[in-house]
């Protein structure tokens, strides 16, 4: 195919990029809960992976926010010496 040919003619660097990107994407996919259990993991398109990654990151962000809030609340309310210790460790 012409496209392939043209690509192959590119600098070696960019060709590597393609392969690499594929690998990276697949790696990324492995990190995604949504896509990890897909039946045919190799069939997932890169754009889908990226999309899911975005979503996932957002989710994680929310999660972190929520958790940090909770945790801080928890630490606030807890008044044991241990808690203080933890706090000192966590909140430095």
């Amino acid at each position: 195919m012409s496209s392939r040919r043209s690509r192959s003619r590119q600098t070696g660097g960019s060709r590597i990029t393609d392969d690499q990107i594929q690998d990276l994407v697949s790696k990324l996919q492995q990190l995604l809960p949504e896509l990890h259990n897909t039946r045919r993991p190799d069939k997932v398109s890169a754009s889908r992976v990226l999309q899911e990654t975005c979503n996932y990151i957002k989710t994680l962000h929310r999660e972190v926010d929520g958790l940090s809030e909770r945790l801080s609340q928890l630490l606030e309310t807890t008044d044991t010496t241990q808690a203080a210790l933890i706090r000192s460790l966590l909140m430095q």
């Binding site: 496209s3 990029t17 990226l50 990151i57 940090s68 966590l90």
Partner: protein, 778 residues
């Protein structure tokens, strides 16, 4: 001496140790993966490990006492691979399995009841591990990649500077463009890029991008260079430029409508200074400069197809002035314009025509195409002279159609683009022959033009098709069918790429401090960031669950109902298995948002007692509060997701552990002198802040985890730092950051690490001195 940081994650006795070896340059990773009961310590360069794995790791059992035949690997509950002296040591713990496996298994991913199941899962884990591992080597090449690209770009970047003649050319070119593009470029770069969904830059993306670099660097060397900032922003660069073109075109139109004089004036001023001499110099330069750039870049492939378009455009432009925009008459005028174009001398005339062109534009309310044509013209003109009538005719057609479109909205242009496609194709075949004979620099230039044109045209798919169609014939001069197929393929490919790029940008926005320009490093970063986030979430979740453990035994009311899903251990084990390196079933992670309402201390402290004290004798079961019947509930609960959250808690877990330990074991005489004993501990951390915090933390940790308790080798120091490196936890800023890194000074490459590690694990797990580990330790 490179600093080694070990990030310890400890849960139910299953720990994940993620060690990062950061030497000023970057980070080489050494990781210990723990999935539930399987512990894999790769204490060696990952590439090595991967190689080993791929090559069917011949696991030579170096340690007699602990060695297990590879074949028996599945049987082992705990397998550790350690890179030592160039050998991989695999250590397994059968004993543990017999005792603990059931407990752990229950918490396992899919609750493996029997050993068989366990074995299977283990194998699976290994395979996953393998896959995970295999990913790492990639990152290395990516770096190289980046370098390559940089190198490639260098000539282009420097290019304009080096050419003495270039100045003329640039100025000339700039002048021409000035009315259209240049003004808009700096300011509109990013806006344009953002506002528009860029659907072009597809297949030939890379080529065009690089070409563009070349081109743009010439044209706007100053601007572009600033923007570049050392990183290769291929896509972005393309866009701003392309976008700016159409925009400026529009603005031109409007401006021209309002006052035509303005446009013309600017053009004139631009052109006048750059007289014939400039132009000739331009030519020369092309010959000189064009050669190296094209050859080096290897972009000769595009010459053919790009050419027809450029030609047509150029013709179109040149014709227009004389034509005065009579749509129907185009052909005639075109033919008349042939002679003019055929000679080099005519270039001048063309130029003068250009001036008129601006006029035309103002008059006829040009579409994007028109405005685009302007920039392309100068370079193409040279080529034009040699062009043949056939091209012209096609061009004429094109022009006609375009003219018709002229007043129509952009969307229409797109549809018309399709119509145009045919003629273009035909032209291309003819022209390509011509162009092939030309100097190598031309092709590059043409392709540039072409790209710019196509891209600057309406981004709609139809137009893409056109551009693609233009390309195809060039490649397969022969069969039209083939070109068709290729065309279709190309188109779909392009669309795919567009989608990907779009997502890529979205992703980039989500990653803090991600300035990476090239995709590979971007993805790399995304992966790291994702891992970090997962870890963070887990650690925080762990913190939540860990806390109850801190409470004095008496105080801990346990609400069986809620608690079910996790004994901390189970949760952790699970989490680790899933989330950590393996990224296995992280499915639930998403759901973990709905964390089970954490109500007070679920955790029975009684469990902690045994845990900390001791090591020997106490086993997991002891740790898991028997009364709770946690395991069972665990199995039942689908809400595994929650526990997952706790997975990352390991750091915290450790922390908590330490704390708890201190509470329990303070009387054990924390060895405060320990720090002094270890001079090597001095951290080589980059940031002072981190250092200080680390030191503090270290002290505390020492206090909390007295040597006695851990039986740490004297030369080892566990250092717990609170977020030692912000880069590792980019998202944490301003939020709680509890990932704790344990720095082990000498640990990594030796048995020390293992011993420390095992001790920690034993500590937590309650399965103290495993024969294996003790053997290793001794």
């Amino acid at each position: 001496m490179p600093m080694k940081m070990v990030d310890c994650i400890i849960d139910d006795g299953v720990s994940v140790v993620d060690s990062v070896l950061s030497d000023g340059l970057g980070f080489a990773r050494r990781e210990v993966y723990v999935v539930k009961d399987t512990i894999l310590v790769c204490n060696m360069p990952l590439t090595e490990l991967v190689r080993m794995f791929k090559g069917k790791v011949d696991v030579t059992n170096e340690v007699a006492s602990t060695s297990i035949d590879p074949s028996s690997r599945p049987d082992t509950d705990c397998v550790e691979l350690i890179w030592e002296n160039g050998q991989i040591m695999m250590q397994g713990n059968k004993a543990r399995k017999s005792t603990n496996s059931n407990n752990f298994q229950t918490f396992g991913l899919k609750s493996q009841d029997g050993r068989n199941g366990t074995n299977c899962s283990k194998m699976a884990k290994f395979s996953t591990m393998d896959s995970v591992m295999s990913d790492f080597p990639m990152s290395v090449p990516s770096c190289e990649m980046g370098l390559d690209q940089d190198i490639d770009l260098v000539p282009w970047l420097n290019y304009p500077m080096e050419e003495s003649l270039h100045n003329d050319y640039t100025s000339d070119f700039l002048n021409e463009l000035s009315g259209v593009t240049i003004n808009d470029l700096p300011t509109e770069n990013h806006l344009a890029y953002r506002e528009r969904k860029i659907s072009f830059h597809g297949d030939g993306h890379d080529n065009s991008a690089s070409l563009k670099h070349n081109d743009t660097s010439k044209d706007f060397s100053s601007n572009e260079k600033d923007n570049r900032g050392g990183s290769i922003e291929v896509p972005q660069f393309m866009f701003p430029f392309q976008q700016s073109v159409p925009r400026s075109g529009i603005s031109d139109i409007t401006g021209s409508n309002a006052g035509n004089t303005h446009h013309v004036g600017s053009r004139d001023s631009g052109l006048n200074p750059s007289s014939l001499s400039a132009f000739t110099s331009l030519r020369l330069q092309k010959l000189d400069a064009g050669q190296p750039s094209t050859t080096s870049s290897g972009f000769t492939n595009f010459p053919c197809f790009s050419r027809p378009a450029a030609l047509s455009r150029a013709n179109h432009v040149s014709v227009n002035p004389s034509k005065r925009l009579e749509n129907g008459n185009k052909r005639c005028t075109l033919s008349s314009s042939y002679p003019a174009n055929s000679t080099l001398v005519n270039l001048d005339s063309n130029y003068s025509q250009k001036e008129l062109l601006s006029h035309n534009q103002s008059i006829m309310a040009p579409t994007n195409d028109k405005s685009i044509t302007l920039p392309t013209k100068p370079p193409t003109e040279e080529l034009l002279s040699a062009n043949q009538p056939m091209c012209r005719e096609d061009t004429a057609k094109n022009q006609a159609s375009q003219n018709q479109v002229c007043d129509s909205p952009m969307s229409k242009v797109g549809t018309i683009g399709n119509k145009i496609m045919e003629p273009v194709v035909a032209t291309s075949s003819v022209c390509s022959a011509n162009s092939a004979e030309r100097t190598s620099n031309e092709p590059a230039r043409n392709s540039k033009r072409k790209f710019r044109e196509t891209e600057s045209e309406d981004p709609s798919d139809e137009i893409e098709e056109e551009s693609v169609g233009g390309k195809k014939p060039a490649h397969g001069r022969g069969g039209s069918k083939r070109s068709r197929a290729a065309e279709v393929h190309n188109l779909s490919e392009r669309r795919r790429r567009d989608r990907i790029n779009e997502k890529m940008r979205a992703l980039q926005e989500l990653i803090p401090n991600c300035n990476k320009a090239d995709k590979a490093s971007m993805l790399d970063e995304a992966i790291e960031y994702l891992k970090t986030l997962q870890l963070q979430v887990l650690s925080m979740g762990a913190g939540m669950y860990m806390q109850p453990m801190m409470l004095p035994p008496g105080m801990s009311p346990i609400h069986g109902a809620h608690v079910p899903h996790f004994s901390p251990m189970g949760a952790m084990g699970l989490g680790m298995g899933m989330g950590m390196g393996f990224g296995m079933n992280m499915l639930n992670m998403n759901n973990s948002t709905k964390m089970v309402p954490f109500q007070g201390p679920h955790y029975p402290i009684p469990g902690t007692g045994p845990m900390f004290q001791g090591m020997p004798g106490s086993n997991l079961q002891a740790f898991v509060h028997p009364g709770q019947g946690l395991p069972m509930s665990m199995q039942q609960t689908p809400t595994v997701s929650v526990p997952m959250g706790s997975l990352s808690k390991m750091p915290i877990g450790l922390n908590a552990l330490g704390v708890a330990g201190s509470s329990n074991a303070t009387h054990l005489a924390p060895s405060s002198s320990k720090k002094d004993a270890n001079p090597q501990v001095i951290s080589s951390m980059d940031s002072n802040n981190v250092n200080s915090s680390m030191n503090q933390a270290t002290n505390q940790v020492k206090m909390l985890m007295p040597q006695k308790l851990l039986k740490l080798p004297t030369e080892t120091t566990l250092r717990i730092a609170d977020t030692p490196d912000r880069n590792l936890l980019p998202a944490c800023s301003g939020k709680l950051q509890h990932v704790i890194f344990i720095e082990c000074t000498k640990v990594l490459t030796s048995n020390l690490f293992l011993s420390v590690y095992s001790q920690i694990r034993c500590l937590i797990r309650g399965a103290p001195n495993d024969e294996n580990f003790s053997a290793v330790n001794s």
